[in-house]
């Protein structure tokens, strides 16, 4: 037995090494950096909360904006993903699995590719405008499609939708259909059995989908840069610039951990609220 235990430890070693050396250590170091400061382009060890103060005083607008956009995306995507997964599981019969497969194909469509595609679709000389003008619906290109928050929401929703469908379908797949019949037998209509039997069991999938979508949206910077335009300054853009021309790692770090901490708070809030509404009464 002792032999088996040490073998298991040995087998965990490479994986653990990757986790510690390239994830836990970097993230911990990066967290410590958020309490440091930069003097004449050099990092200096310190123990100051200045960076966090700076984040909340100087960057509260993009922070707020980021969370509003991320929340809109996460809520919309979770809802739509749930609808689609529910359809595939309970309403589409034998077409459910092929339809789900089609949707999940786009999971690997390419990150930059998708953003770029939406930029070309929504642009002033882009596909949507030229199609509208060709069909005579408009005379001049509509510039309002691109470089606004809606474009960011659409693009990120498109990217995160398959990511959200996956865990939700996973939890719906585990729901046995016999208890649904049992609920009806005991007097529940379709809405009641949905609320009492389906939702509580789908809850873990919903929370996972919301968390993945929210974190991704809150931490993204390429989408706002490419389709968001100058007025959609999401916090990711500022984080990224601290490591580009501004070289202020402590501030960038403080921003990152602020975003992560607040995101976790939002996710916990979502989990708690939805748990309350799906609890067994």
């Amino acid at each position: 037995m002792r032999d088996a235990r040490s073998l298991a430890n040995l087998m965990l070693l490479p994986s653990g090494l990757i986790l510690v050396a390239f994830f836990l250590l970097p993230v911990s170091y990066f967290f410590v950096v958020s309490f440091w400061r930069v003097r004449s382009y050099k990092l200096q060890a310190d123990a100051t909360l200045d960076q966090y103060v700076e984040v909340f005083t100087g960057y509260w607008v993009p922070l707020l904006y980021t969370f509003a956009v991320a929340l809109a995306i996460a809520l919309a995507v979770t809802l739509i993903a749930f609808g689609f997964a529910f359809y595939c599981r309970f309403r589409a019969g034998r077409y459910g699995m092929p339809l789900l497969f089609l949707a999940l194909l786009t999971l690997f469509g390419g990150y930059l590719t998708k953003i770029y595609t939406w930029k070309t679709i929504l642009g002033a000389e882009g596909i949507l405008n030229s199609a509208l003008m060709l069909t005579g619906l408009t005379d001049a290109p509509i510039t309002a499609f691109l470089f606004n928050p809606v474009a960011v929401v659409i693009t990120l929703a498109h990217y995160t939708l398959p990511i959200a469908i996956l865990p939700i379908f996973g939890s719906l797949r585990g729901i046995d259909e016999v208890p649904l019949d049992a609920a009806r037998d005991l007097g529940a209509g379709p809405c009641r059995s949905f609320r009492d039997v389906v939702l509580p069991q789908a809850w873990p999938g919903l929370v996972t989908a919301f968390a993945l979508t929210f974190l991704f949206a809150a931490g993204d910077y390429v989408t706002p840069m490419l389709v968001g335009g100058p007025n959609t300054s999401m916090i990711g853009v500022f984080i990224q610039s601290q490591f580009g021309h501004r070289v202020d790692a402590p501030l960038g770090s403080a921003m990152s951990f602020t975003v992560i901490a607040l995101s976790l708070a939002v996710i916990l809030g979502f989990a708690g609220t939805t748990r309350y509404f799906t609890r067994v009464r």
């Binding site: 019949d181 037998d185 009641r192 009492d196």
Partner: protein, 373 residues
């Protein structure tokens, strides 16, 4: 017993005449077909108050479809269903006075035992006090006291089965439907649960309809058995009737063990296996002689004594299996057909061994001659 859970029906023990006059469940011409495929041929069935009815048949015979139509999970293609006099043909399960114990139980996996049992009452918006009282009562009936707060996923198969029964019975249905209620349990547990179900049926005096493919289960539980084959009811009667007087070859083969000997009837004379010939009135044509293993006797010696109204066939012992209470002999009769005979006589067992010539005999009244269609 004084259990306060009772089903919305008069107490069992009313006369048969009352039952026949106003059956609780009445199916008239009820059938179900999917396109060209017919699951249940249009059939009639009446179930009286207090009956414990088994619908018995092999898989695919339409028994579960029939039960689901009674419960309201499937709409019949033809016919009407009445429960307690009211036409429920078009009502969904949530509006019928029936409750179901599902195959695999269909418990709510995210709820505790008590939450499962209370669910239907909560939907009816019963006062909390009444819910608690009736749930406690149902749990006591299912011998589940103390399990209230357990998650149902942490229970054993037998316990889950009892939760499913309690969850249905707490609703005080006019009819309790059970779909293969014991199929998921192992043999020992199945025997125990049979007793449990009989006890519950006795103590509340309700009407139970259950579906099974297991003839022993049907015999052990039901007061009346309906045998189905290929969407049709082929026989309807008490377990004793069905065992002793199966109407078709299928029923006799399906219920208990039986020896089947093919033969012909011509002008009131039945001939079986070449040597056997006896009078038996009925239409001419091919017949099957059905003989239960325990109905025949084995005799040794050149000219054994058999009763005057008995039939006898000569043969040779091929196999002897000691089963505890009885011993089973396989005897090859003339023509090579194997007859199985069970006997509890230990003295006989000592005298017989494989290869010994014997005579198999039985009184005429203990076999059945079944005309082949």
């Amino acid at each position: 017993m004084g259990s306060r859970i009772e089903m919305g029906a008069p107490r069992a023990g009313r006369t048969a005449a009352v039952r026949a006059a106003s059956p609780l469940v009445l199916l008239a011409g009820v059938g179900k077909s999917y396109g060209a495929m017919t699951a249940v041929e249009p059939l009639d069935l009446a179930v009286g108050h207090g009956e414990f009815l088994a619908i018995l048949g092999p898989s695919g015979c339409g028994k579960t479809t029939l039960l689901k139509m009674i419960g309201g999970f499937l709409a019949p293609s033809t016919g009407t269903i009445r429960i307690g006099g009211a036409d429920v043909t078009r009502l969904g399960p949530e509006r019928r006075p029936t409750n179901m114990v599902f195959q695999g139980y269909g418990l709510f996996p995210h709820m505790t035992v008590a939450q499962n049992v209370a669910y239907g009452l909560r939907l009816q918006k019963r006062p909390a006090g009444e819910v608690a009282e009736r749930v406690a009562e149902a749990l006591r009936l299912g011998a589940l006291e103390g399990f209230d707060a357990r998650p149902v996923t942490a229970l054993s198969g037998g316990q889950q089965q009892r939760v499913a029964v309690a969850r249905a019975l707490v609703m005080r249905p006019k009819v309790l439907l059970l779909d293969e209620p014991l199929a998921a349990l192992d043999l020992k547990l199945r025997k125990a649960m049979q007793e449990e179900l009989r006890r519950i049926h006795r103590s509340i005096g309700g009407t139970f309809i259950f579906v099974t493919h297991d003839q022993e289960e049907a015999m052990g539980l039901a007061s009346r058995i309906v045998v189905m084959e290929r969407g049709c009811i082929v026989q309807d009667g008490t377990p004793e009737e069905i065992y002793a007087e199966p109407k078709t070859r299928f029923v006799s083969g399906f219920i208990g063990e039986a020896n089947m000997l093919p033969g012909r009837r011509e002008r009131g004379l039945v001939r079986v296996n070449g040597s056997l010939c006896f009078p038996d009135p009925g239409p001419d044509g091919p017949i099957t002689l059905m003989l239960r293993p325990e109905a025949a006797r084995v005799a040794t010696g050149e000219s054994p004594v058999v009763g005057i109204d008995s039939l006898a066939l000569r043969g040779q012992v091929r196999d002897i299996v000691f089963l505890g209470a009885v011993t089973r002999y396989a005897i090859a009769i003339e023509g090579g057909t194997l007859l199985h005979v069970t006997d509890s006589d230990s003295e006989l067992r000592r005298r017989l061994e494989v290869g010994v010539p014997v005579t198999v005999h039985w009184p005429q009244r203990s076999h059945r001659v079944i005309a082949e269609a």
